[in-house]
């Protein structure tokens, strides 16, 4: 697949060079400024493919600075103090104890005409982990990703991690190997991976006893 992509890029580059060269010849023949016409042709050929690159990076940066982060609203000790004896009675629903990854039973829901998707992971009788993915706009491929540790009895968030990824959309996921515009791929904001790991380490404390 990679070879096909590189060949396609090579062919497009050759076509672009041919278009620019033809434009220069045309401009010279008709007494126009060749460098101006060549620049315009190169600009058009570039933007036919890469028009959304700069807007995606700019909008991604904006959302990362404005909304991304990891917040703990209640620590385990605070929650235990408010709910004495409850944690000791919780049993983890993990289907794969001792495995490489946790495997919670889950449900999902789709909203906003397919632009928003929520996976509801059932951690135990009391807690869910929500994984919400949402397209922030239809113009550029940016997904808002949110993980929430949710107290089902009190209907409140215990912790939240928000991140943004680019290069794909919730509604039009293409793969494998992912979207064709691979240069737009960015799975998270700067420092987002570390925050995701911290969120994982935090929420797993609430899983309860393994069966």
């Amino acid at each position: 697949m990679g070879l096909v992509v590189f060949m396609a890029i090579g062919v497009y580059l050759l076509i672009s060079l041919a278009v620019v060269a033809w434009t220069v010849v045309y401009a010279q023949k008709h007494g126009k400024r060749a460098w101006l016409w060549a620049s315009a042709a190169a600009f058009v050929m570039y933007n036919l493919v890469f028009w959304d690159w700069i807007p995606t990076v700019v909008v991604h940066k904006y959302y990362c600075e404005k909304e991304a982060g990891f917040w703990i609203y209640k620590t385990l000790d605070q929650w235990k103090a408010e709910n004495p004896g409850v944690m000791e009675g919780l049993v983890s629903y993990n289907k794969n104890p001792g495995g490489f990854n946790v495997d919670w039973p889950f449900q999902y829901k789709k909203e906003d005409d397919g632009h928003s998707k929520t996976i509801i992971n059932h951690i135990n009788e009391r807690f869910d982990e929500l994984f919400i993915q949402q397209d922030v706009t239809e113009l550029v491929p940016i997904i808002r990703k949110e993980n929430v540790l949710w107290d089902k009895n009190k209907n409140q968030a215990i912790a939240r991690y928000v991140d943004f990824g680019t290069g794909n959309s919730v509604k039009n996921t293409i793969g494998p190997p992912g979207p064709l515009k691979f240069w737009l791929n960015n799975s998270s904001c700067m420092g987002g991976k570390a925050k995701q790991i911290n969120f994982g380490k935090f929420y797993i404390q609430f899983k309860g006893a393994e069966k």
Binding site: N101, F106, K117, G167, I174, G178, N185, N186, K201
Partner: protein, 78 residues
């Protein structure tokens, strides 16, 4: 198992191998459906996959682009 079922299993395993399972606290279902992290499974695909398979080990992308995942089947598919 028929050839079509066999090919289906191989195809879904190949597709699942693109997901990022490097964080042990991210559930398999989340990883399979994380659109910006190589997860391209639909909800129904993920549910079916998780019911039958689990991750045994995962090597995330190395500097030269290699990655690998070992899956274990949790029940007979015959």
């Amino acid at each position: 198992m028929s050839m079509i079922q066999d090919l289906f299993q191989q195809a879904q395993l190949a597709e699942a191998a693109y997901a990022d399972f490097s964080n042990p606290n991210v559930s398999t279902a989340n990883a399979l459906q994380d659109a910006n992290n190589g997860g391209s499974f639909s909800e129904a695909q993920a549910a079916t996959f998780v019911a039958d398979w689990s991750v045994v080990s995962h090597q995330p992308d190395t500097l030269n682009g290699f990655s690998a995942t070992v899956f274990r089947i949790d029940k007979s598919l015959n």
